[in-house]
Subunit: 193 residues, 4 copies
Amino acid sequence: NFASKGDVSNQIFASYDVYKGKASLSVRPVLPTFTKSDSGSLRVRRRGVMMLSFLPAVGERKYDYEKKQFFALSATEVGSLISLGPKDSCEFFHDPSMLTSNSGQVRKTLSIKAHADGTGYLISLNVVNNILKTKEYFTVPVTTAEAAVIKTACSFALPHILGWDRLTNQLPRHIEGHPSKVDPKNMDLEWDK
Amino acid sequence: NFASKGDVSNQIFASYDVYKGKASLSVRPVLPTFTKSDSGSLRVRRRGVMMLSFLPAVGERKYDYEKKQFFALSATEVGSLISLGPKDSCEFFHDPSMLTSNSGQVRKTLSIKAHADGTGYLISLNVVNNILKTKEYFTVPVTTAEAAVIKTACSFALPHILGWDRLTNQLPRHIEGHPSKVDPKNMDLEWDK
Amino acid sequence: NFASKGDVSNQIFASYDVYKGKASLSVRPVLPTFTKSDSGSLRVRRRGVMMLSFLPAVGERKYDYEKKQFFALSATEVGSLISLGPKDSCEFFHDPSMLTSNSGQVRKTLSIKAHADGTGYLISLNVVNNILKTKEYFTVPVTTAEAAVIKTACSFALPHILGWDRLTNQLPRHIEGHPSKVDPKNMDLEWDK
Amino acid sequence: NFASKGDVSNQIFASYDVYKGKASLSVRPVLPTFTKSDSGSLRVRRRGVMMLSFLPAVGERKYDYEKKQFFALSATEVGSLISLGPKDSCEFFHDPSMLTSNSGQVRKTLSIKAHADGTGYLISLNVVNNILKTKEYFTVPVTTAEAAVIKTACSFALPHILGWDRLTNQLPRHIEGHPSKVDPKNMDLEWDK
């Protein structure tokens, strides 16, 4: 029983990685978690995200795993990313301590800026941590091909981080041997309040 | 056995939600239901839809769940939505009592109107209920990013609300140890009447 | 065991239907069938198709099921369909008796012609049967929204009619407790002849 | 148990094939393989690829299977392919002996060149093998429709060769009867180092 074993699929590590001169960028989906109510229905407990992680380079093809930084794109931020045209840019601001007593102490800024010639983007992450008194800056140029992978894979992942894949691949939801041909209740789901 | 438990997957609640100043909009797929004939074949009983639901705002970040209104997009209406260009608009009219004695008493109008500058859409729902003598109006501006999520997620959902995901992820449909190399019946499915 | 029961998934009926004044058009995927060799590997036996079926109208909202005609789009023809621009047209010719003694006796022509104003397509099927001495002609105008459903659903179905969904959703293909870190055989699959 | 049987899904043969006058081209996805650690987590062991294979023609509709040559597109190369515009071209260079003592002895070049009129591409593979003293050259013109199949099917396959389909279609990752409403650890995954 998977459910009783907890967070099993979290233990699959499959990311799309871009290793560049100053830093590396890894992208992977993190699925939502669900809560089962007493009635048996499932509700999203923690929303899924596209997790970006950055490592600074510390030599040729060497990256410092101790300095890993994360940026978790929400569904709407993924929408921004996948609708970026070849000349577009976008920027996201996160405070991972939002709604805690440390609110405002850490500021993360992710910026995706199109190259002037439309041949890719510069993705950069800026992390200012006032608690640890640190500032970190990562910058990863991605080509058109790498951006196409990220956009295509994020488009694929989007319904999954929304939890919509849970609605599919199911056994029949409602099977009966003798359907009633005229059933007003079924005529319009809009009455289902 | 899922089938005997009935409408299980209906009890998964995973919607994409947009909360704005005057109202909120939630989007989620509702899968088709199937009927099993005596011969064992499955037919779509009730078509799947993309269910939009609206809540009016009654304060800052507060929404009135008692006044929830639904609008169920058919496959073709989803086709309209996902093919909307950044300057396009569309409008749908529903009568949830169609073909009943209350036909014409309730009129629902969903309008999706591009912002003049192409940076998103205004989605609004108008519900005129002559039985309850009520008129309700919901309006939710969505950004380009939010619209991209809705379009991408609806494109993903479209084959599922058609029931086509039921045709996949199956065990082999036809496996034989020694295929006949030349079998005219297999040469063209167009003869399968 | 599904395999021993044969063509089970064929018995799911879920099509996208467009009912118009002169005829109706239904679209549904038909998955490939597989052959299992003695060694246990699976090969495609009969290719999958997108099956179009047409019914002539014989009154208001009444269609003659006795006069149903089929046209089975191959993967490449589906490629044509999904890459059609709003002003494009295409035409396919089939001989369902090809390679039999009746070759040339039946000619089917499917034509997809963009409306001059880019607001949809006219889909028509012409069937000339010299054996039965019949000529049949079906014509179904589809809107932009209906065409978007057909294109989106066909794009979804394309990998499935190729049989590629069989390559996914599998248990781990190769799991070992202690991977060899350097294994030249694994370095490049291009040596796998 | 699939895992103990090893490379099962590798034994499904379902490719998209284009047979032309001078050579044939087959395209199929090869999924990644995974390694299970002692802790039970799965890591990608060998990356997935889109495998292109070429056969030279040796007569009308006859192809020489002995002279098959492979070219394995990485995820990023697939990104290049699927983002090719109708007038674009790209070229990839592989050395299947890279990092071995035979490095540099075999050079493979795949070229995808748009037809001048935008009606498809010329796909060619050049293999220079200094060990066997052979040079082979394959050239396959593909139409817009065939290119649409390849692009659509590769877009479908991309998340699968990344291994992201393993993250989905799972049972609930985290189900609890009584979720804690406020759990700072869950508030932002960006703290999950």
